[in-house]
Amino acid sequence: MSYTIKQISIFAENKPGRLAAIADALEEERINIYAFSIAEASGFGIIRALVSDPDKAHRKLTELGYVVSFTDVIGVKMRDEPGGLRDIARIMGSADINIEYAYAYSAKTEAVLVVRVDQVDDAIKALQEHGGQLIKEKELA
Protein backbone atom coordinates (compact mmCIF):
# COMPACT_ATOMS: atom_id res chain seq x y z
CA MET A 1 0.00 0.00 0.00
CA SER A 2 2.69 2.42 1.03
CA TYR A 3 3.11 5.35 -1.25
CA THR A 4 5.37 7.16 1.13
CA ILE A 5 8.94 7.51 0.00
CA LYS A 6 11.85 7.85 2.39
CA GLN A 7 13.79 10.97 1.51
CA ILE A 8 17.08 11.88 3.15
CA SER A 9 17.65 15.48 4.16
CA ILE A 10 21.12 16.75 4.85
CA PHE A 11 22.00 19.93 6.67
CA ALA A 12 24.73 21.78 4.84
CA GLU A 13 26.48 25.01 5.55
CA ASN A 14 26.76 27.21 2.51
CA LYS A 15 30.25 26.19 1.70
CA PRO A 16 31.53 25.40 -1.75
CA GLY A 17 32.13 21.73 -2.39
CA ARG A 18 29.54 20.48 0.08
CA LEU A 19 27.30 18.94 -2.54
CA ALA A 20 30.18 17.36 -4.41
CA ALA A 21 31.50 15.83 -1.21
CA ILE A 22 28.12 14.32 -0.45
CA ALA A 23 27.75 12.98 -3.99
CA ASP A 24 31.22 11.43 -3.81
CA ALA A 25 30.45 9.76 -0.51
CA LEU A 26 27.28 8.22 -1.89
CA GLU A 27 28.95 7.11 -5.05
CA GLU A 28 31.64 5.40 -3.04
CA GLU A 29 28.89 3.34 -1.42
CA ARG A 30 27.31 2.68 -4.83
CA ILE A 31 24.19 4.53 -3.86
CA ASN A 32 22.30 6.08 -6.76
CA ILE A 33 20.84 9.52 -6.44
CA TYR A 34 17.51 9.64 -8.27
CA ALA A 35 16.49 13.14 -7.41
CA PHE A 36 17.69 15.98 -5.32
CA SER A 37 17.02 19.58 -4.55
CA ILE A 38 18.83 22.23 -2.57
CA ALA A 39 17.01 24.72 -0.44
CA GLU A 40 19.07 27.66 0.65
CA ALA A 41 18.54 30.15 3.40
CA SER A 42 20.84 32.74 4.86
CA GLY A 43 23.90 30.94 6.10
CA PHE A 44 22.80 27.36 5.55
CA GLY A 45 21.13 25.01 3.14
CA ILE A 46 19.26 21.75 3.14
CA ILE A 47 19.97 19.10 0.56
CA ARG A 48 17.08 16.73 -0.05
CA ALA A 49 17.54 13.57 -2.03
CA LEU A 50 15.84 10.38 -3.10
CA VAL A 51 18.40 7.61 -3.27
CA SER A 52 18.54 3.90 -3.97
CA ASP A 53 19.38 2.96 -0.36
CA PRO A 54 18.30 5.67 2.10
CA ASP A 55 19.35 3.70 5.22
CA LYS A 56 22.82 3.10 3.93
CA ALA A 57 23.10 6.71 2.80
CA HIS A 58 21.99 7.93 6.22
CA ARG A 59 24.56 5.71 7.91
CA LYS A 60 27.40 6.74 5.64
CA LEU A 61 26.73 10.47 5.84
CA THR A 62 26.24 10.37 9.60
CA GLU A 63 29.56 8.61 9.93
CA LEU A 64 31.12 11.44 7.98
CA GLY A 65 29.69 13.91 10.46
CA TYR A 66 26.74 15.25 8.50
CA VAL A 67 23.43 16.00 10.12
CA VAL A 68 20.97 13.77 8.29
CA SER A 69 17.32 13.00 8.79
CA PHE A 70 14.62 10.99 7.06
CA THR A 71 11.50 12.66 5.77
CA ASP A 72 8.45 10.96 4.28
CA VAL A 73 7.52 12.43 0.94
CA ILE A 74 5.22 11.37 -1.86
CA GLY A 75 5.90 11.20 -5.57
CA VAL A 76 3.18 12.15 -8.03
CA LYS A 77 3.39 11.52 -11.76
CA MET A 78 2.86 14.68 -13.76
CA ARG A 79 1.26 14.88 -17.13
CA ASP A 80 4.04 15.91 -19.39
CA GLU A 81 2.16 18.91 -20.65
CA PRO A 82 1.27 22.37 -19.39
CA GLY A 83 -0.97 22.34 -16.35
CA GLY A 84 0.38 19.14 -14.82
CA LEU A 85 1.78 20.86 -11.79
CA ARG A 86 -1.28 23.08 -11.38
CA ASP A 87 -3.57 20.03 -11.23
CA ILE A 88 -1.67 18.59 -8.32
CA ALA A 89 -1.53 21.89 -6.45
CA ARG A 90 -5.28 22.28 -6.90
CA ILE A 91 -6.09 18.84 -5.52
CA MET A 92 -3.98 19.54 -2.44
CA GLY A 93 -5.44 22.98 -2.03
CA SER A 94 -9.02 21.84 -2.09
CA ALA A 95 -8.21 19.13 0.44
CA ASP A 96 -6.68 21.79 2.69
CA ILE A 97 -3.28 20.20 2.57
CA ASN A 98 -0.34 22.52 2.89
CA ILE A 99 2.64 21.77 0.67
CA GLU A 100 5.84 22.40 2.62
CA TYR A 101 7.96 22.13 -0.46
CA ALA A 102 8.09 20.29 -3.77
CA TYR A 103 10.61 19.58 -6.45
CA ALA A 104 10.40 17.82 -9.77
CA TYR A 105 12.58 15.30 -11.49
CA SER A 106 12.44 13.27 -14.65
CA ALA A 107 12.01 9.58 -14.09
CA LYS A 108 12.45 7.15 -16.99
CA THR A 109 9.14 7.77 -18.65
CA GLU A 110 7.57 10.76 -17.01
CA ALA A 111 8.14 13.75 -14.80
CA VAL A 112 7.59 13.20 -11.09
CA LEU A 113 6.78 15.82 -8.52
CA VAL A 114 8.19 15.08 -5.07
CA VAL A 115 5.98 16.65 -2.44
CA ARG A 116 6.48 17.13 1.27
CA VAL A 117 3.29 17.69 3.25
CA ASP A 118 2.48 17.47 6.92
CA GLN A 119 -0.47 15.10 6.56
CA VAL A 120 0.98 12.44 4.28
CA ASP A 121 -1.94 10.00 4.51
CA ASP A 122 -4.55 12.66 3.79
CA ALA A 123 -2.56 13.83 0.81
CA ILE A 124 -2.29 10.34 -0.62
CA LYS A 125 -6.02 9.83 -0.19
CA ALA A 126 -6.90 13.13 -1.83
CA LEU A 127 -4.63 12.53 -4.79
CA GLN A 128 -5.95 9.03 -5.34
CA GLU A 129 -9.56 10.19 -5.18
CA HIS A 130 -8.87 12.79 -7.84
CA GLY A 131 -7.06 10.57 -10.26
CA GLY A 132 -3.53 11.48 -9.26
CA GLN A 133 -0.99 8.77 -10.00
CA LEU A 134 1.40 8.06 -7.19
CA ILE A 135 4.65 6.22 -7.46
CA LYS A 136 6.16 3.81 -4.97
CA GLU A 137 9.66 3.85 -3.61
CA LYS A 138 10.75 0.90 -5.70
CA GLU A 139 9.52 2.59 -8.87
CA LEU A 140 11.94 5.46 -8.43
CA ALA A 141 14.64 3.83 -10.51
Partner: protein
Protein backbone atom coordinates in the same frame (compact mmCIF):
# COMPACT_ATOMS: atom_id res chain seq x y z
CA UNK B 1 20.93 23.55 59.80
CA UNK B 2 23.84 21.34 60.71
CA UNK B 3 27.02 23.28 61.33
CA UNK B 4 30.58 22.22 61.89
CA UNK B 5 31.32 25.35 63.80
CA UNK B 6 27.97 26.68 65.07
CA UNK B 7 29.40 29.58 67.03
CA UNK B 8 30.96 31.14 63.93
CA UNK B 9 28.46 29.96 61.37
CA UNK B 10 25.50 31.36 63.31
CA UNK B 11 27.01 34.82 63.65
CA UNK B 12 25.00 37.80 62.56
CA UNK B 13 26.24 40.08 59.84
CA UNK B 14 27.24 42.70 62.40
CA UNK B 15 29.23 40.24 64.50
CA UNK B 16 31.01 39.01 61.40
CA UNK B 17 31.85 42.52 60.29
CA UNK B 18 33.31 43.31 63.68
CA UNK B 19 35.55 40.27 63.43
CA UNK B 20 36.50 41.14 59.87
CA UNK B 21 37.50 44.63 60.86
CA UNK B 22 39.58 43.35 63.76
CA UNK B 23 41.41 40.87 61.52
CA UNK B 24 41.90 43.41 58.74
CA UNK B 25 43.38 45.97 61.07
CA UNK B 26 45.84 43.43 62.50
CA UNK B 27 46.73 42.15 59.05
CA UNK B 28 47.49 45.60 57.69
CA UNK B 29 49.73 46.50 60.61
CA UNK B 30 51.51 43.21 60.33
CA UNK B 31 52.13 43.55 56.60
CA UNK B 32 53.16 47.17 56.83
CA UNK B 33 55.69 46.26 59.48
CA UNK B 34 57.00 42.93 58.21
CA UNK B 35 56.32 42.53 54.49
CA UNK B 36 58.83 44.35 52.30
CA UNK B 37 56.55 43.81 49.34
CA UNK B 38 53.33 45.11 50.83
CA UNK B 39 55.05 47.87 52.76
CA UNK B 40 56.31 49.29 49.46
CA UNK B 41 52.90 48.85 47.88
CA UNK B 42 51.25 50.80 50.66
CA UNK B 43 53.88 53.54 50.48
CA UNK B 44 53.29 53.87 46.74
CA UNK B 45 49.55 54.10 47.37
CA UNK B 46 50.24 56.60 50.09
CA UNK B 47 48.28 54.71 52.69
CA UNK B 48 49.23 54.02 56.29
CA UNK B 49 47.72 51.37 58.60
CA UNK B 50 46.20 54.20 60.66
CA UNK B 51 44.10 55.17 57.63
CA UNK B 52 42.13 51.96 58.01
CA UNK B 53 39.43 52.98 60.47
CA UNK B 54 36.53 50.85 59.26
CA UNK B 55 35.91 47.83 57.11
CA UNK B 56 34.89 50.13 54.26
CA UNK B 57 38.36 51.68 54.34
CA UNK B 58 39.62 48.51 52.71
CA UNK B 59 39.17 50.31 49.37
CA UNK B 60 42.17 52.47 50.29
CA UNK B 61 44.45 49.45 50.21
CA UNK B 62 46.39 48.57 47.06
CA UNK B 63 45.60 45.43 45.09
CA UNK B 64 47.65 42.29 44.74
CA UNK B 65 47.89 40.43 41.45
CA UNK B 66 48.86 36.99 40.20
CA UNK B 67 51.80 38.71 38.57
CA UNK B 68 53.14 39.69 41.99
CA UNK B 69 53.41 36.05 42.94
CA UNK B 70 55.23 35.24 39.72
CA UNK B 71 57.56 38.23 40.04
CA UNK B 72 58.43 37.19 43.56
CA UNK B 73 58.96 33.53 42.72
CA UNK B 74 59.46 31.38 44.61
CA UNK B 75 59.07 32.74 48.16
CA UNK B 76 59.97 36.43 48.27
CA UNK B 77 56.46 37.34 49.41
CA UNK B 78 56.40 34.89 52.29
CA UNK B 79 56.22 36.14 55.86
CA UNK B 80 58.30 34.53 58.58
CA UNK B 81 61.02 31.99 58.15
CA UNK B 82 61.18 28.53 56.71
CA UNK B 83 60.90 27.07 60.22
CA UNK B 84 57.31 28.29 60.31
CA UNK B 85 56.40 26.59 57.05
CA UNK B 86 54.95 23.12 57.10
CA UNK B 87 54.01 22.71 53.45
CA UNK B 88 54.36 24.04 49.92
CA UNK B 89 51.95 23.74 47.05
CA UNK B 90 52.91 24.75 43.54
CA UNK B 91 50.55 25.66 40.73
CA UNK B 92 51.80 25.01 37.25
CA UNK B 93 50.41 28.24 35.85
CA UNK B 94 49.06 28.23 32.32
CA UNK B 95 51.27 31.13 31.33
CA UNK B 96 54.93 31.11 32.18
CA UNK B 97 56.24 30.77 35.70
CA UNK B 98 54.62 28.67 38.37
CA UNK B 99 53.48 30.14 41.67
CA UNK B 100 54.45 28.75 45.04
CA UNK B 101 52.23 28.90 48.09
CA UNK B 102 53.50 28.19 51.60
CA UNK B 103 51.53 27.22 54.68
CA UNK B 104 52.08 27.48 58.40
CA UNK B 105 50.41 24.98 60.72
CA UNK B 106 47.68 27.55 61.41
CA UNK B 107 47.15 28.01 57.67
CA UNK B 108 46.61 24.28 57.24
CA UNK B 109 44.27 24.20 60.22
CA UNK B 110 42.18 27.05 58.89
CA UNK B 111 42.07 25.49 55.46
CA UNK B 112 40.82 22.19 56.86
CA UNK B 113 38.31 24.02 59.06
CA UNK B 114 36.96 25.92 56.08
CA UNK B 115 36.49 22.70 54.10
CA UNK B 116 35.03 20.94 57.14
CA UNK B 117 32.39 23.66 57.53
CA UNK B 118 31.67 23.50 53.80
CA UNK B 119 31.26 19.72 53.68
CA UNK B 120 29.09 19.79 56.78
CA UNK B 121 26.91 22.47 55.21
CA UNK B 122 25.99 20.09 52.38
CA UNK B 123 25.04 17.38 54.83
CA UNK B 124 28.21 15.30 54.92
CA UNK B 125 29.57 13.89 58.16
CA UNK B 126 30.97 10.87 59.98
CA UNK B 127 28.64 8.45 58.23
CA UNK B 128 29.99 9.39 54.84
CA UNK B 129 32.58 7.72 52.68
CA UNK B 130 34.15 10.37 50.52
CA UNK B 131 36.14 9.56 47.41
CA UNK B 132 38.58 12.30 46.52
CA UNK B 133 39.21 12.24 42.83
CA UNK B 134 41.20 15.43 42.57
CA UNK B 135 44.90 15.19 41.92
CA UNK B 136 47.04 14.72 45.01
CA UNK B 137 50.44 16.36 45.09
CA UNK B 138 51.57 19.86 44.27
CA UNK B 139 48.01 20.70 43.21
CA UNK B 140 45.88 21.82 46.17
CA UNK B 141 42.69 19.97 45.20
CA UNK B 142 43.39 16.48 46.52
CA UNK B 143 45.03 17.29 49.85
CA UNK B 144 42.73 20.25 50.51
CA UNK B 145 39.59 18.13 50.36
CA UNK B 146 41.39 15.26 52.05
CA UNK B 147 42.14 17.10 55.28
CA UNK B 148 38.71 18.71 55.36
CA UNK B 149 36.98 15.36 54.90
CA UNK B 150 39.10 13.73 57.60
CA UNK B 151 38.39 16.65 59.89
CA UNK B 152 34.64 15.94 59.84
CA UNK B 153 35.32 12.30 60.58
CA UNK B 154 34.27 10.97 57.20
CA UNK B 155 36.05 7.96 55.72
CA UNK B 156 38.32 9.10 52.92
CA UNK B 157 39.11 7.19 49.74
CA UNK B 158 42.11 9.09 48.32
CA UNK B 159 41.54 7.91 44.76
CA UNK B 160 43.24 10.86 43.05
CA UNK B 161 42.79 11.12 39.27
CA UNK B 162 42.71 8.52 36.53
CA UNK B 163 41.73 4.89 36.07
CA UNK B 164 38.05 5.62 35.92
CA UNK B 165 36.84 2.02 35.80
CA UNK B 166 38.74 1.25 38.99
CA UNK B 167 37.24 4.37 40.57
CA UNK B 168 33.75 3.13 39.76
CA UNK B 169 34.55 -0.28 41.26
CA UNK B 170 35.75 1.46 44.41
CA UNK B 171 32.57 3.51 44.59
CA UNK B 172 30.58 0.29 44.44
CA UNK B 173 32.73 -1.89 46.68
CA UNK B 174 33.47 0.66 49.40
CA UNK B 175 29.92 2.07 49.31
CA UNK B 176 31.17 5.57 48.63
CA UNK B 177 28.52 8.20 49.37
CA UNK B 178 30.21 11.35 48.08
CA UNK B 179 32.79 12.26 45.47
CA UNK B 180 34.97 15.34 45.01
CA UNK B 181 36.21 15.95 41.47
CA UNK B 182 35.96 18.29 38.49
CA UNK B 183 32.56 18.56 36.82
CA UNK B 184 33.98 17.23 33.56
CA UNK B 185 35.42 14.24 35.36
CA UNK B 186 32.02 13.64 36.93
CA UNK B 187 30.46 13.50 33.47
CA UNK B 188 33.22 11.22 32.29
CA UNK B 189 32.64 8.98 35.30
CA UNK B 190 28.92 8.87 34.56
CA UNK B 191 29.50 7.97 30.92
CA UNK B 192 32.04 5.32 31.81
CA UNK B 193 29.78 3.73 34.39
CA UNK B 194 26.96 3.65 31.89
CA UNK B 195 29.25 1.81 29.49
CA UNK B 196 30.15 -0.62 32.25
CA UNK B 197 26.48 -1.27 32.89
CA UNK B 198 26.59 0.45 36.28
CA UNK B 199 23.64 2.68 37.08
CA UNK B 200 24.96 5.16 39.63
CA UNK B 201 21.61 5.82 41.28
CA UNK B 202 20.66 2.13 41.39
CA UNK B 203 23.95 0.32 41.87
CA UNK B 204 25.90 2.70 44.11
CA UNK B 205 25.40 4.71 47.29
CA UNK B 206 26.78 7.86 45.68
CA UNK B 207 24.46 10.77 46.45
CA UNK B 208 26.68 13.84 46.69
CA UNK B 209 29.24 15.37 44.36
CA UNK B 210 31.46 18.33 45.24
CA UNK B 211 32.57 19.76 41.94
CA UNK B 212 34.99 22.51 41.06
CA UNK B 213 38.47 23.51 39.90
CA UNK B 214 37.06 24.46 36.53
CA UNK B 215 34.15 26.65 35.50
CA UNK B 216 30.83 24.93 34.99
CA UNK B 217 27.29 26.05 34.45
CA UNK B 218 23.88 25.58 35.96
CA UNK B 219 22.93 23.60 32.84
CA UNK B 220 25.78 21.22 33.49
CA UNK B 221 24.63 20.78 37.09
CA UNK B 222 21.17 19.83 35.87
CA UNK B 223 22.64 17.38 33.39
CA UNK B 224 24.87 15.76 36.04
CA UNK B 225 22.09 15.54 38.61
CA UNK B 226 19.64 14.08 36.14
CA UNK B 227 22.14 11.66 34.69
CA UNK B 228 23.50 10.32 37.99
CA UNK B 229 20.90 11.10 40.62
CA UNK B 230 23.49 12.82 42.84
CA UNK B 231 23.21 16.30 44.28
CA UNK B 232 26.03 18.35 42.82
CA UNK B 233 27.56 21.24 44.77
CA UNK B 234 29.93 23.91 43.57
CA UNK B 235 33.24 24.37 45.39
CA UNK B 236 35.53 27.36 45.07
CA UNK B 237 39.08 28.25 45.91
CA UNK B 238 42.45 28.80 44.29
CA UNK B 239 45.90 27.88 45.49
CA UNK B 240 46.74 31.53 46.30
CA UNK B 241 43.86 31.55 48.81
CA UNK B 242 45.07 28.14 50.14
CA UNK B 243 43.16 25.82 47.81
CA UNK B 244 39.54 24.68 47.62
CA UNK B 245 37.87 26.42 50.56
CA UNK B 246 34.22 27.25 50.11
CA UNK B 247 31.14 25.46 48.80
CA UNK B 248 27.49 26.03 48.35
CA UNK B 249 25.33 24.92 51.25
CA UNK B 250 22.44 22.51 50.94
CA UNK B 251 20.40 25.29 49.29
CA UNK B 252 22.61 25.23 46.15
CA UNK B 253 22.17 28.95 45.91
CA UNK B 254 25.59 30.56 46.10
CA UNK B 255 28.92 29.69 47.67
CA UNK B 256 29.30 30.75 51.31
CA UNK B 257 32.52 32.62 51.95
CA UNK B 258 33.34 32.23 55.64
CA UNK B 259 33.44 35.82 56.78
CA UNK B 260 35.90 35.25 59.60
CA UNK B 261 38.40 33.94 57.05
CA UNK B 262 37.87 35.99 53.95
CA UNK B 263 36.49 39.34 52.92
CA UNK B 264 35.13 39.51 49.38
CA UNK B 265 34.56 42.41 47.07
CA UNK B 266 33.24 42.39 43.52
CA UNK B 267 34.68 45.11 41.31
CA UNK B 268 34.08 46.54 37.90
CA UNK B 269 37.10 45.05 36.12
CA UNK B 270 37.59 48.22 34.08
CA UNK B 271 37.37 50.89 36.75
CA UNK B 272 38.22 48.93 39.89
CA UNK B 273 35.12 50.41 41.58
CA UNK B 274 33.15 48.25 43.98
CA UNK B 275 29.91 46.83 42.62
CA UNK B 276 26.74 46.14 44.58
CA UNK B 277 25.04 42.85 45.36
CA UNK B 278 23.95 40.92 42.28
CA UNK B 279 26.19 42.91 39.96
CA UNK B 280 28.63 40.87 37.97
CA UNK B 281 32.28 41.70 38.11
CA UNK B 282 35.71 40.67 39.24
CA UNK B 283 36.13 38.83 42.50
CA UNK B 284 38.66 40.34 44.89
CA UNK B 285 39.52 38.48 48.07
CA UNK B 286 41.29 39.45 51.25
CA UNK B 287 42.35 36.45 53.33
CA UNK B 288 41.96 37.65 56.88
CA UNK B 289 43.93 35.02 58.75
CA UNK B 290 46.54 33.67 56.38
CA UNK B 291 50.04 33.73 57.87
CA UNK B 292 52.70 32.41 55.49
CA UNK B 293 51.42 34.13 52.39
CA UNK B 294 48.93 36.86 53.26
CA UNK B 295 46.68 38.00 50.46
CA UNK B 296 45.11 41.43 50.53
CA UNK B 297 42.64 42.58 47.90
CA UNK B 298 43.84 39.86 45.61
CA UNK B 299 42.47 40.21 42.09
CA UNK B 300 41.92 36.61 41.15
CA UNK B 301 40.41 37.43 37.79
CA UNK B 302 37.33 35.25 38.28
CA UNK B 303 33.93 36.71 37.49
CA UNK B 304 31.04 36.47 39.89
CA UNK B 305 28.52 38.49 41.87
CA UNK B 306 27.81 38.50 45.59
CA UNK B 307 24.75 38.29 47.77
CA UNK B 308 25.00 39.42 51.38
CA UNK B 309 21.45 38.70 52.39
CA UNK B 310 20.88 35.90 54.88
CA UNK B 311 20.73 32.53 53.14
CA UNK B 312 17.72 30.23 53.42
CA UNK B 313 20.03 27.94 55.42
CA UNK B 314 20.24 30.64 58.10
CA UNK B 315 23.86 31.65 57.60
CA UNK B 316 24.68 35.28 57.05
CA UNK B 317 28.13 34.61 55.57
CA UNK B 318 28.23 36.30 52.17
CA UNK B 319 27.58 34.12 49.13
CA UNK B 320 29.12 34.44 45.70
CA UNK B 321 27.48 33.07 42.58
CA UNK B 322 29.18 30.38 40.56
CA UNK B 323 32.23 31.59 38.67
CA UNK B 324 31.09 32.45 35.19
CA UNK B 325 34.36 33.16 33.49
CA UNK B 326 37.62 35.04 33.62
CA UNK B 327 38.21 38.74 33.33
CA UNK B 328 40.77 38.01 30.61
CA UNK B 329 38.00 36.50 28.46
CA UNK B 330 35.88 39.62 28.50
CA UNK B 331 34.98 41.13 25.14
CA UNK B 332 33.76 44.67 24.77
CA UNK B 333 31.33 44.83 21.89
CA UNK B 334 29.65 48.16 21.15
CA UNK B 335 30.57 49.23 24.66
CA UNK B 336 28.88 46.25 26.26
CA UNK B 337 30.84 43.70 28.29
CA UNK B 338 30.31 40.25 26.86
CA UNK B 339 31.66 37.09 28.42
CA UNK B 340 31.84 33.87 26.43
CA UNK B 341 30.48 32.11 29.49
CA UNK B 342 27.28 34.16 29.26
CA UNK B 343 26.88 33.07 25.68
CA UNK B 344 27.43 29.48 26.72
CA UNK B 345 24.84 29.83 29.42
CA UNK B 346 22.30 31.28 27.01
CA UNK B 347 22.89 28.59 24.42
CA UNK B 348 22.55 25.80 26.96
CA UNK B 349 18.98 26.88 27.45
CA UNK B 350 18.15 25.92 23.86
CA UNK B 351 17.85 22.12 23.63
CA UNK B 352 18.21 22.06 19.85
CA UNK B 353 21.82 23.19 20.17
CA UNK B 354 25.00 21.32 20.99
CA UNK B 355 27.53 22.64 23.48
CA UNK B 356 30.14 24.00 21.11
CA UNK B 357 30.05 27.51 19.78
CA UNK B 358 32.25 30.27 18.50
CA UNK B 359 31.95 34.03 18.76
CA UNK B 360 33.32 36.06 15.90
CA UNK B 361 33.61 39.80 16.35
CA UNK B 362 34.02 42.02 13.32
CA UNK B 363 33.96 45.71 12.66
CA UNK B 364 31.88 47.11 9.85
CA UNK B 365 32.73 50.79 9.51
CA UNK B 366 32.58 52.00 13.07
CA UNK B 367 30.13 49.34 14.20
CA UNK B 368 31.11 46.12 15.94
CA UNK B 369 29.23 43.05 14.82
CA UNK B 370 28.94 39.81 16.68
CA UNK B 371 28.40 36.51 14.97
CA UNK B 372 27.72 33.40 17.00
CA UNK B 373 28.32 30.11 15.27
CA UNK B 374 26.70 27.27 17.07
CA UNK B 375 26.62 23.57 16.46
CA UNK B 376 23.22 22.02 16.08
CA UNK B 377 22.11 19.01 18.03
CA UNK B 378 21.67 16.34 15.28
CA UNK B 379 18.38 15.11 16.69
CA UNK B 380 16.91 18.58 16.35
CA UNK B 381 17.47 18.83 12.62
CA UNK B 382 14.30 19.54 10.70
CA UNK B 383 14.35 19.55 6.95
CA UNK B 384 12.04 22.55 6.87
CA UNK B 385 13.78 25.84 6.27
CA UNK B 386 11.17 27.59 8.38
CA UNK B 387 11.95 25.49 11.42
CA UNK B 388 15.64 26.25 11.20
CA UNK B 389 15.02 29.94 10.59
CA UNK B 390 12.77 30.14 13.62
CA UNK B 391 15.40 28.30 15.66
CA UNK B 392 17.90 30.96 14.60
CA UNK B 393 15.51 33.70 15.61
CA UNK B 394 14.88 32.05 18.95
CA UNK B 395 18.61 31.75 19.67
CA UNK B 396 19.06 35.36 18.73
CA UNK B 397 16.29 36.40 21.12
CA UNK B 398 17.72 34.35 23.99
CA UNK B 399 21.14 35.93 23.47
CA UNK B 400 19.68 39.37 23.25
CA UNK B 401 17.76 39.02 26.48
CA UNK B 402 20.90 37.77 28.22
CA UNK B 403 23.55 40.09 26.74
CA UNK B 404 21.51 43.05 25.65
CA UNK B 405 23.26 42.95 22.32
CA UNK B 406 22.07 41.61 19.00
CA UNK B 407 24.06 38.88 17.39
CA UNK B 408 23.85 37.14 14.09
CA UNK B 409 23.43 33.39 14.45
CA UNK B 410 24.94 30.81 12.19
CA UNK B 411 23.88 27.20 12.61
CA UNK B 412 26.54 24.67 11.76
CA UNK B 413 26.71 20.90 11.88
CA UNK B 414 28.06 19.07 14.93
CA UNK B 415 31.81 18.67 14.94
CA UNK B 416 32.23 21.51 12.44
CA UNK B 417 33.93 23.98 14.75
CA UNK B 418 37.64 23.36 15.08
CA UNK B 419 38.56 21.87 18.46
CA UNK B 420 41.70 22.03 20.44
CA UNK B 421 41.95 19.71 23.41
CA UNK B 422 38.26 18.91 23.11
CA UNK B 423 37.16 22.53 23.17
CA UNK B 424 36.22 24.74 20.29
CA UNK B 425 38.08 28.01 19.97
CA UNK B 426 35.50 30.26 21.47
CA UNK B 427 36.42 33.72 20.36
CA UNK B 428 37.73 35.10 17.10
CA UNK B 429 38.20 38.83 17.29
CA UNK B 430 38.87 40.26 13.86
CA UNK B 431 38.63 43.89 14.89
CA UNK B 432 42.31 44.39 15.51
CA UNK B 433 43.18 43.44 11.95
Amino acid sequence: MTCWDPRTEDMSKAELQAIQYKHLKTLVYKLYSFSRFYHDRMKEANVHPDDIRSLEDIVKLPFMYKKDLRDNYPDKMFMGGQEELVRYHVSSGTTGKPTVVGYTQNDLNNWATSVARALTSIGLGRKDIIQISYGYGLFTGGLGLHYGAERIGATVVPASVGNTERQIELIQDLKVTAICCTPSYMLHLAETSERMGVDISRDTMLRTAVLGAEPWSEGMRERIQEFTGVNAYDIYGTSELSGPLFTECIEQNGIHIWGDMAYVEVLDPETGEQLGPGERGELVVTMLQKEALPMIRYRIGDLTSYDDSTCACGRSHTRISRITGRVDDMLIIRGINVFPSQVEHALLAVPELGEHFQIEVNRKGSLDTMLVRVEMNPTAFSDKIDDLMSLKRRVSRVLHSMLNISAEIELVGPGTLARSEGKAQRVIDRRSI
